[in-house]
């Protein structure tokens, strides 16, 4: 594009060039004015050209008697903006700025004039003289090129022209946000509003087509996010690409949506989500520990890693991972379970009366559901705390698959090692350490087909050396203790759901369990190959009638080598003294154990609101060579969304522990143990708009459990051999579970669970019932979390629980010590089993979390304080060396766990 030069020379006001000649010049009349001999075209200032600005530059130029330019002065520049219609300006992308002074017109004019050639002015007689003359240079705009042809709106086949495409992500997590409603609009020249709307798709992207050029306002709205507001400029022939990071109005952990089976086949099922679990105070973000806060769950002894549900034994509650049994629940010390929270979506807890899908345990059931991966890109977390370091990373693979890896290593062991004083009677060879690692993958190759894979490996190790073993226990014949426990599981799940009436899920799990424990002369080694297969089919027979059935097979091949004290105390035998010097040896090769289960149940809704779930489970247990049939029934009537009654009855059988049926340590003729469970309860809320009340849910459930044929230690002999154990024990457990929940609303979530319970056992016929080891009459738990502005969240947990029953010392009561010279020790004569109770347990745990949201990641710092007021809670009795004095052995003191977590 070139400028147009107007060389209109006006010399009517010419003046003499030099002052000393002024009089002479004035005296002489100019007879010929300077003429342009050679014009030069000025360069049109590009900014002015783009903005369609023309100009008139006024100059004074001094032309010598030879016609050369001796001086130039810009006296004035007048710019003129071309008058354009809005349509034209938009079409050509013309945007004007008012901040540029003369756009460079003056300089361009001077540069051009300098290079021009002039004839000199003359006076009478043809005498050339120098003159100073005004000169005007005009910059004229070239015409605009023709505008692009408008698309033919009537042509349905014409290609749409993409003018704007974008991506919506969540600030901090970079998660793509689907479903954001985007509106783009402008006010046309005629005053009408022109607007278009679209919605971000599942990967958060959106596009607008065929927008006329020009400025547009863009607005985006998504639930729980701050609104998007922006102005974009559409330019002809260009595609504008934008990415927006929407900030969540509230990064509350409770906003997470999870897939929960809506059918309530059980009287009580509590489902906890990953983020709920992570932020509950006092449980260190552990998916299993958190369940201790729910009704029906008693408090285990600190560090024991036990789970006690509705007064059942520590081995009576089964832990599943997506329906697959796992052999070990907790790492050493019971502070963390083997499942890190990042790989879990939800945890379902059933305190009793569960469906026929589950079996083999007369206590409760935990089923942790592994996270279903659906990342839009690489995401992950990194967490470092005083307990452990963990990492989780997930990535999509194509459109239908994703994979994740996770790992964790404890650091608490290093802390303990460092804390052991140099002069302590112990040297730690290998710090107590646990590892676990997980691999997750899911793939949906086609509609109706879903494949999932999960691998879990866990490893716990500890090795230490007593400097003076004799001072630990005079019966120790060595000074080294080492223990290593690890297991691996690979789980493959295939779900086939071709339509809404049929669905089949098959799960295959293989793995290995390994234990190596040595302490002085004691030894226990186990290596077991594990296999589990579970297939579940679900058929919708008619509206309101669905049949579910399947098989659940568990098999193992186990090698065991052991040198252990001959008797293993059972529940209720804690007062008995063990003979640690007489060892029993065992070497068991290829012990095959098979458990075959079949289950069948119905989901039947005969009338609106009434749900019936009859079911039956058949199990075979090869260790005792017995079949069992477990009938189950759960019924529920929903009077409304706010009121329901529910009840259930069912039978569950479980086999004795492996050690109890072994030839060497137990009684191979033991039979199955039976539990009959009953529940009756109600759930209700308030159909009201009143805050707080509307968010409250209540659940009251009475329960009764009848235990029969339970295994207990036996004095009896049969055919000259000690039975060691028999099936003579019975038990009864009854109580009331109360659960009051304030669902997350107004930044607040809380629940109160209270269980009133009594659990009793009778070991032998004719004896009186006694209290169960972990009978806790009152179990009160309260948790509350409040989400504050600026990324703060506060939480607390308060626990007040009856002390455990314990067995007193008759020696203490009689004040008569009994000394055994040969072991240099004193004997303790126990009083009546579990006839006294320890003091009430109380504990307050606090949790504070602060999170920061950056564009590409979030950072959280948290402090969990367990046992904030450092309550010395009794966990058992501790006696003086001669049992003539006693004290309480107390549990964990105050324990702060500081950590930081990055989510990207």
């Amino acid at each position: 594009m070139r400028s147009l030069v107007l060389a209109a020379l006006s010399l009517g006001v010419a003046a003499p060039a030099f002052a000393q000649e002024e009089e002479e010049i004035e005296a002489a009349e100019i007879t010929k004015y300077p003429q342009i001999l050679e014009a030069v075209e000025a360069t049109y200032p590009p900014v002015a050209l783009r903005q369609r600005i023309s100009a008139q530059v006024a100059l004074e130029i001094e032309i010598s008697e030879t016609g050369t330019i001796s001086d130039i002065l810009v006296t004035e520049t007048t710019t003129i903006a071309e008058t354009l219609s809005a349509t034209t300006a938009v079409a050509y992308g013309i945007v004007r700025s008012s901040t540029i002074a003369d756009y460079g017109f003056g300089d361009a004019a001077v540069d051009a004039v300098k290079r021009m050639k002039f004839s000199p002015a003359e006076v009478e007689g043809g005498i050339p003289i120098p003159v100073r003359v005004p000169f005007s240079y005009a910059f004229d705009l070239p015409p605009l090129p023709p505008p692009p042809a408008p698309p033919d709106a009537q042509d349905p086949n014409r290609p749409k022209v993409l003018v704007l495409k974008g991506l919506i992500r969540e600030r901090g997590t970079r998660t793509r946000i689907p479903g954001v409603i985007l509106t783009i609009f402008r006010e046309r020249e005629d005053g009408e509003l022109e607007a278009y709307e679209t919605t971000s798709d599942r990967d958060g992207s959106f596009a607008f087509y065929d927008l006329p050029p020009g400025p547009w306002r863009l607005q985006g709205e998504a639930d729980a996010y701050f609104p998007l507001r922006d102005t974009v400029r559409v330019v002809v022939g260009e595609v504008l690409e934008v990415t927006y990071y929407l900030e969540k109005g509230n990064y509350s952990p409770y906003d997470v949506l999870v897939e929960v089976d809506p059918v309530k086949r059980e009287v009580n099922r509590r489902t906890l989500t990953r983020e709920e679990i992570r932020t509950v105070p006092g449980t260190l973000g552990d998916p299993i520990l958190v369940v201790e806060n729910l009704p029906g769950v008693a408090r285990p002894a600190a560090g024991s890693g036990n789970i006690i549900v509705r007064g059942s034994g520590t081995n009576d509650t089964i832990v599943y991972v997506d329906g697959v049994e796992v052999p070990l629940i907790y790492h050493f010390g019971g502070l963390k379970s083997v499942l890190p929270i990042d790989v879990v979506d939800t945890v379902d807890f059933y305190p009793g009366n569960f469906s026929a899908y589950y079996g083999r345990g007369t206590g409760g059931v935990f089923d942790a559901h592994i996270r279903r991966l659906d990342p839009d890109q690489v995401h992950g977390t990194l967490e470092v705390s005083a307990l452990d370091v963990s990492l989780f990373a997930e990535t999509p693979i194509g459109d239908n698959a994703a994979v994740a890896v996770a790992g964790r290593r404890s650091v608490i062991g290093d802390v303990i090692t460092a804390a052991v004083p140099d002069d302590a009677n112990v040297g730690i060879i290998a710090a107590p350490v646990y590892y676990d690692a997980q691999v997750l993958a899911n793939w949906t190759p086609d509609r109706g087909h879903d494949l999932r894979f999960f691998f879990l490996a866990s490893d716990d190790r500890l090795e230490f050396l007593f400097a003076n073993a004799a001072d630990v226990n005079p019966q120790l014949t060595g000074n080294q203790v080492n223990t290593s426990v690890n297991f691996q599981r690979a789980v493959l799940e295939y779900r086939f759901a071709p339509n809404e009436t049929y669905q089949n899920t098959a799960i295959v799990a293989v793995g290995r369990n390994f234990i190596d424990f040595q302490a002085a002369d004691f030894l226990f080694g186990l290596e077991s190959q594990q296999f589990q297969f579970r297939d579940t089919a679900r058929i919708k027979l008619a509206e309101g009638l669905t049949l579910r059935g399947g098989a659940d097979i568990l098999a193992s091949i186990t090698d065991i080598v052991a040198a252990l004290p001959g008797t293993v105390p059972t529940e209720g035998q804690t007062g008995a003294t063990q003979d640690l010097q007489t060892l029993t040896f065992a070497n068991i090769d290829d012990n095959v154990s098979v458990e075959i289960g079949h289950f069948l149940d119905l989901e039947w809704t005969p009338v609106k609101g009434l749900s019936l779930f009859p079911g039956v489970r058949l199990d075979y247990f090869s260790e005792v060579d017995q079949w069992s049939a477990d009938p189950r029934l759960v019924a529920r009537y929903d009077f409304s969304d706010f009121f329901a009654v529910k009840g259930g009855a069912g039978v569950v059988y479980q086999q004795p522990q492996g050690v109890e049926t072994s030839d060497e340590f137990g009684n191979p003729n033991l039979g199955l143990q039976r539990g009959v469970q009953y529940s009756l309860g109600t759930e209700f809320g308030f159909d009201t708009e009143i805050p707080i009340l509307s968010d409250l849910r209540f659940d009251f459930t009475f329960f009764y459990k009848d235990l029969g044929d339970f295994v207990t230690g036996s004095d009896r002999f049969e055919d000259g051999e000690p039975l060691r154990f028999d099936n003579t024990a019975i038990g009864r457990v009854y109580g009331l579970e109360t659960f009051i929940e304030h669902k997350f609303a107004n930044n607040f979530r809380a629940w109160i669970s209270y269980t009133l319970s009594r659990s009793e056992r009778r070991d032998q016929p004719g004896e009186d019932f006694r209290l169960f080891d972990f009978d806790q009459t009152h179990i009160f738990n309260m948790t509350a979390s409040y989400v504050l502005p600026e990324g703060w969240e506060l939480g607390l947990r308060l626990r007040i629980i009856s002390g455990n029953p314990t067995t007193p010392s008759a020696t203490l009561e009689s004040q008569r010590s009994q000394f055994f010279d040969d072991i240099d020790g004193f004997g303790n004569v126990p009083g009546a089993t579990n006839s006294i109770r320890l003091d009430t347990f109380s504990q307050l745990d606090l949790r504070v979390e602060k999170s920061w949201t950056f564009t590409f990641f979030r950072l959280k710092a948290f402090l969990s304080i367990i046992n904030t007021w450092n309550q010395e809670n009794p966990e058992g009795l501790s006696f003086r060396y001669d049992f003539l004095d006693q004290d309480f052995a107390t549990g964990l003191p105050v324990f702060p766990n500081l950590g930081i977590r990055a989510e990207f």
Binding site: G305, G333, I428, P474, G575, D885
Partner: protein, 350 residues
């Protein structure tokens, strides 16, 4: 997973976590009241016609003449859940033995009321063997009590002494092993006698302390070695080598039962009337010695030095007025052999 395994892990972890935990109870090494520190049976193993002399080590009383004693024995003592009662009263013993022609008097278990007692093995070895064999058949009597393996030819009986001082009663039990397999290859356990050995007091310079111990001073007590004896020889004398049937897990995880030469494990229990022992017990544990299986183990000399030495922190001036105080050392060989020695040390300002 096995209950045993999960408990094993919990026990190991619990042991470690509790390292720093302590109670306010006095250490068992501190004598604050009437105590029986040991009961010696000499010899600990007896053959027919032999008598084992029983002597208690009673401390913590200023007037031993006020003590009362009541001695008895029992072939089979019950566990703690039966209050350590004798499971075989005389009537029941006779009921078992009468078919074999044995009959014992009513006071058969009575050993008198003296400061010491004697257990005379005056009945024939067959009596004991028959008793052993019969007891193994007596299911009801065996209630969680380990019945001796009669093939071993040994039958431990339990001697009981009730020691009274006013209202107080302390009961002490001591096993005496009756040998009924009288084959010549049978080696009897000898008493590891340290009664004639002294306890040396070692100062901070590693030399024997020639002066009274200062308040709050830490010294070492060490079981003395006679001048003409090498410490290793002394150890060999105290820790006998004997043959026993050992059950163990082999390298291929098979169970091996075989006769094996092994050393006695020695346990040394330390007691003081004041001050603070560093360890209540020290010990010589053969399994911790250096060997092919345990290259990091201790040498015999080092292990014995560690076992026969203990540190002692002398009391604060406010806790003890100064003067003489007794130190006791009891040695056990874990086969019934118990012996002791003691010394008096002076504590005060130098």
């Amino acid at each position: 997973m096995s209950t045993v395994a999960s408990r094993a892990g919990a026990v190991a972890m619990g042991a470690l976590l509790l390292l720093s935990c302590g109670s306010d109870f006095p250490e068992r090494s501190l004598i604050t009241d009437l105590r029986v520190l040991a009961v010696s049976a000499d010899p600990p193993w007896v053959v027919p016609t032999q008598t084992s002399n029983l002597t208690p080590l009673v401390v913590g009383t200023e007037d031993p003449t006020q003590l009362g004693y009541r001695w008895s024995w029992c072939p089979l003592r019950g566990p703690n859940t039966s209050a350590f009662e004798c499971l075989l009263p005389v009537e029941q013993l006779n009921a078992i033995l009468q078919p074999m022609g044995f009959n014992v008097p009513e006071n058969f278990y009575d050993l008198g009321e003296g400061e010491t007692a004697s257990f005379p093995y005056l009945f024939p070895a067959e009596f004991v063997e028959q008793l052993c064999l019969e007891l193994r058949k007596q299911e009801e009597l065996s209630r969680f009590v380990t019945i001796p393996d009669c093939d071993e030819g040994l039958f431990p009986i339990s001697v009981q002494v009730d020691i009274t001082l006013g209202d107080r009663i302390i009961t002490a039990y001591k096993d005496v092993t009756l040998v009924f397999d009288l084959s010549e290859s049978r080696a009897l356990n000898a008493l590891p006698d340290i009664s004639s050995l002294g306890i040396d007091v070692i100062g901070a310079n590693g030399q024997e302390l020639e002066r009274p111990i200062n308040f709050e001073e830490t010294v070492l007590f060490r079981l003395g070695v006679p001048d003409d004896t090498d410490p290793i020889a002394q150890l060999a004398d105290l820790s006998e080598t004997f043959t026993t049937t050992v059950t163990r897990i082999g390298d291929g995880e098979e169970i091996i039962i075989e006769a094996e030469q092994t050393r006695e494990q020695l346990l040394l229990s330390w007691f003081s009337e004041t001050g603070e022992m560093d360890a209540n017990r020290t010990g010589f544990i053969p399994d911790t010695l250096q060997s092919d299986d345990n290259p990091d183990g201790l040498s015999e000399a080092r292990a014995w030095d560690d076992a026969r030495t203990n540190a002692w922190l002398a009391p604060l001036p406010g806790d003890f007025e100064g003067g003489a105080t007794r130190i006791y050392l009891v040695l056990r060989d874990f086969r019934g052999g118990t012996s002791w020695t003691s010394t008096t040390v002076e504590v005060g300002d130098n």
